[in-house]
Symmetry: C2
Subunit: 250 residues, 2 copies
Amino acid sequence: MIQSHYMIANAPRRQPLYVQIKQFLLRRIAEGEWLEHDALPSEWDLADEMSVSQGTVRKALTELVADGLLYRQQGKGTFVAPVLSDWGNALLQSPGVFDELPDRLSCEFLAISRMNASDDMAVALQLRRHAPMFRVRQLWRGQGRPVALDEAYLPAERFDGMEARWFRSGVGVYATLQQRFGVRVVERREQYRAVMLPREDANLLGLSGAALEEPVLSLLRLSVSSVGERVEWRQRYCLSRDLALLQKAG
Amino acid sequence: MIQSHYMIANAPRRQPLYVQIKQFLLRRIAEGEWLEHDALPSEWDLADEMSVSQGTVRKALTELVADGLLYRQQGKGTFVAPVLSDWGNALLQSPGVFDELPDRLSCEFLAISRMNASDDMAVALQLRRHAPMFRVRQLWRGQGRPVALDEAYLPAERFDGMEARWFRSGVGVYATLQQRFGVRVVERREQYRAVMLPREDANLLGLSGAALEEPVLSLLRLSVSSVGERVEWRQRYCLSRDLALLQKAG
DNA sequence: TAGTGGTCTAGACCACGGG
DNA sequence: CCGTGGTCTAGACCACTAT
């Protein structure tokens, strides 16, 4: 299963051992062998199982921790990290206040529908033109008040069998991809803009009258899975009158 | 200089060797011992110099690479990375197009002035109320047209002696902090909002008439140095009619 | 061919957490 | 006390770059 490329003369190029180990563990996590917060075998057990040294296993685990797929606790073990939330590490804070703790957000499912990919969407997701898509709409609330509106677009053929009831309990899109398809999102590219909210979305965010003239923060997101597959295109509108979106920049 | 905490019985807690090595190298870089793109001594030479093993040096270098302070080229060496640009890894792209290459931005110095910290600013930068600050204003252009307006606020006591001419050639704030004070920015926390541009800033961005009613992207940034010091508070307004700000989210 | 970073091993010991 | 992750060493060999 795991083989070094140093031991095989004249063999075609192989990945380093620790990369093979990463992929091996990634597959086992995706297949549900360990659930969130489950402990993996110890570094030594994994090393024995795969006939490599503990240091090599350690290097693989360290990268998976950096990718956010695992977390470690000294003296206890290495565990499967909870799935990335639909907000990632982003927070909503008061503008200008960087040390504030955020409110918890709740997610309300609105609707799921089918449509065809726009040209930009198809290019970004590496699909053919007008490829069939699911559109999942969700409303985020903080302290009961609407704060953001999401439209997540997912390739219908890749995620065949998607059902509305999976979302009814307010579970996020990323959690659903993990639970139902074994897909873990690890990378996101986000574009930020300031726009006026499209009129038809305004009432969902509870805007009316003068508030219709308020600018909103538009976030366009391309989500990539742990195996490099582009799996989601998302449009989010955030009300930013009283809240700012915090990101730690890389 | 470098000492293990394993070899000293009953000694107070010491940092791991590789952390000491990081700090040691960080200081030597800050002091200008090596300039941008200069090669560091080889891992083996550094190991001999500090009487540690090559693997330990390697671990320190790997973390400095991850922090963006160094870069490596196999077969050649390890080099000092160019200073982070005032845009970090962020790019301006066409909305909805994630694979586009960005235009180069040019920086035009506008003015430097003295003022006192606002309350939010003082808290974020861990200064006393109304602490004296420098305000550096710069205008960013892409293909000749204004795209963003920056107001960088720097603690005047920490950066005593700051001069306007340091900025006249269009050099960024981060480059100046590196060159003049040996301070390297490595972490940034950014808040995004959508706002209407303050009237007095609009003409700097070339806005007039109906364009005054365009929303702009507001970015509020707290910059932290390689030694954890909070060194800058920045307000940026980005025109987002035709351009979106791309970030890779962590 | 020499010098660099990149991978891998085997073994040692430390620090933390929990029985 | 044991089992876990965390650090460190010494040595080996591979892969890339330049001369």
